[in-house]
């Protein structure tokens, strides 16, 4: 049971729905240690993605992922826009033009996404960013089906997001607070785990 373009599109629609649902909470998290717009930013972007998906029907998984990447890059802004965009863009490139993705391809996509975000944003694990969700996610991305791989990644991402709470931020706006950034969850790590869980279905 591999993963077709239609499956990917369905997964993306689930992710958009979750962001819509959770955007206020994400914005609240961002207000505590950032500037209070993360949920609004992602929601603006994923709404645009849904609009795009209503017009066009990507014929490969990569095409679907690329559509998400470019749409987020051109509608989200902020730090999360380019970073989420890079993640989906690298994932698209990683899976090439295959019509269906197997477990290995999905694992490769997650690894590429992690590397892309880290090279673009220069954040290391422990800096209290979405990297703290992506790194464990990519490592845990094992399983005998695409769904299993993403499920494992999502679970690891959730733990990684939770683990950002005690951290003092070294990247992103939260870093301006110094010590005061501790005892708060990183909004981008949380949104990353939400998206992965939704993609897993």
């Amino acid at each position: 049971m591999a993963c077709t373009a239609a499956d990917v599109v369905a997964a993306i629609r689930r992710a958009a729905a979750v962001i819509e649902q959770e955007n206020v909470r994400l914005t609240d998290l961002d207000r505590a240690i950032g500037d209070g717009d993360h949920g609004a930013n992602l929601n603006r972007g994923f709404k645009a993605v849904l609009a795009k998906l209503d017009e066009t029907d990507p014929d490969t998984p990569a095409a679907a992922l690329k559509l998400v990447a470019t749409t987020l890059i051109f509608t989200v802004g902020g730090a999360s826009g380019p970073l989420y965009g890079t993640a989906f863009l690298r994932a698209a490139t990683a899976v090439g033009d295959a019509a269906e993705l197997d477990a290995a391809a999905v694992r490769a996509a997650l690894t590429a996404a992690r590397d892309g975000v880290m090279s673009r944003g220069k954040a290391q694990p422990g800096d209290k960013t979405m990297v703290d969700a992506l790194v464990p996610a990519a490592e845990a991305a094992e399983g005998d089906s695409p769904a299993a791989v993403v499920h494992a990644a999502a679970t690891a991402a959730e733990q990684g997001a939770e683990a950002t709470r005690p951290l003092v931020a070294r990247k992103g706006r939260a870093s301006y607070l110094g010590e005061r950034s501790a005892d708060h969850l990183d909004p981008g790590a949380v949104s990353t785990s939400l998206v992965l869980r939704a993609l897993a279905g």
Partner: protein, 333 residues
């Protein structure tokens, strides 16, 4: 949330419409992506300056578009850096072949989005240079962090680099002047009250009746520390000494002193703070030969202020004095 608005999602667009109508002689505004462009852009033979960032800091950046300053401004959503397509559109609209300088405030989002835009512009054979301003001494600097924020110094940078471009400097020289300003300007701010982002509706933080935030930025972020309210003398002392010690500014230095309101501070208090700063600088033998006092880079309706000090030399002083004609800064014309 108390604001003079209609739909929170339309605030930026509706405000831009008013701005365009009020200043049709200076700028033209294009929508989707939103950009504010000099009415006479592109200006033949001139290096073009583009800046931008989240909205909510008005008059920054749109109020500085015009002769002697910016060629275009790119307003993002409130407190959210604009997307690369908007920055690209602005870059294309002002490019006259002499190259384009991107003036970027050091926030991860701004840096990443302007980076992407610069790549896209390069792909169209537009020569783009970028400078990143990071003058906020409230933030500890290190290669391991996001580094310092760009705050008050941005206004001085845009004016001075704009004057260099206006006098005919090439892209390399304008960039060099900009880098010199960045190297010699430092700022720090404080807040008495938070601000409320329209689409969120919640105050950016909560402060007790007798508390203030020291070391805030311009996005309603909490500052580095929360302390009890103090008299103006002490507040100014705290901000100014951090600024002076960081560069450091030394006895005999000639400077431009900029006391900036965060949006909701009465002018009476800004001038009071300016007077205190002048006294303290005089005690240290630091000369103030140019001044700016008012709301020039704000954080919506936040009450508070920042102090920016720029070390001047004859050339920077001349460039500061050079004619400028924008909605928010105008002299010599």
């Amino acid at each position: 949330m108390k604001k003079i608005i209609n739909d929170p999602d339309q605030v930026v667009a509706e405000s831009l419409q008013g701005f365009a109508a009020a200043h049709a002689d200076l700028v033209r505004v294009e929508y989707g992506p939103d950009i504010i462009v000099r009415a006479d852009a592109p200006v033949a033979g001139k290096v073009a300056l583009v800046s931008g960032g989240g909205s909510g800091h008005e008059p920054l950046h749109g109020g500085y578009v015009g002769a002697g300053m910016l060629d275009a401004a790119v307003p993002g959503a409130v407190f959210t850096s604009p997307t690369p397509d908007a920055v690209l559109a602005a870059t294309q609209a002002v490019n006259a072949g002499a190259g384009v300088l991107h003036i970027v405030k050091n926030y991860t989002g701004d840096v990443l989005n302007f980076e992407t835009a610069a790549e896209l512009a390069a792909a169209e054979d537009i020569e783009v240079r970028s400078v990143v301003i990071d003058d906020d001494v409230a933030v500890k600097d290190s290669t391991w962090t996001a580094g310092r924020r760009g705050v008050g110094g941005t206004v001085l940078l845009e004016k001075i680099a704009g004057a260099a471009a206006a006098r005919g400097d090439d892209l390399a020289s304008v960039t060099a002047i900009a880098e010199r300003v960045i190297g010699q300007v430092r700022s720090m701010g404080m807040a008495l009250t938070p601000c409320t982002v329209p689409h969120s509706g919640e105050p950016s933080f909560t402060l007790g009746e007798n508390e203030m935030e020291i070391g805030i930025g311009i996005h309603g972020e909490p500052g580095r520390e929360r302390v009890p309210l103090q008299p103006a003398d002490q507040i100014v002392q705290t901000l100014l000494s951090a600024v002076v010690e960081d560069l450091p500014f030394r006895s005999g230095d000639r400077t431009l002193l900029f006391v900036n309101g965060m949006g909701g501070t009465p002018q009476m208090e800004l001038y009071l703070a300016y007077g205190v700063a002048r006294r303290l600088l005089a005690e240290q033998g630091i000369e103030v030969s140019r001044s700016l006092v008012g709301n020039y880079i704000t954080s919506l309706e936040m009450q508070g202020f920042s102090i920016t000090l720029l070390k001047l030399d004859d050339e920077l002083e001349q460039l500061w004095d050079a004619p400028v004609h924008t909605a928010a800064l105008r002299w010599g014309v």
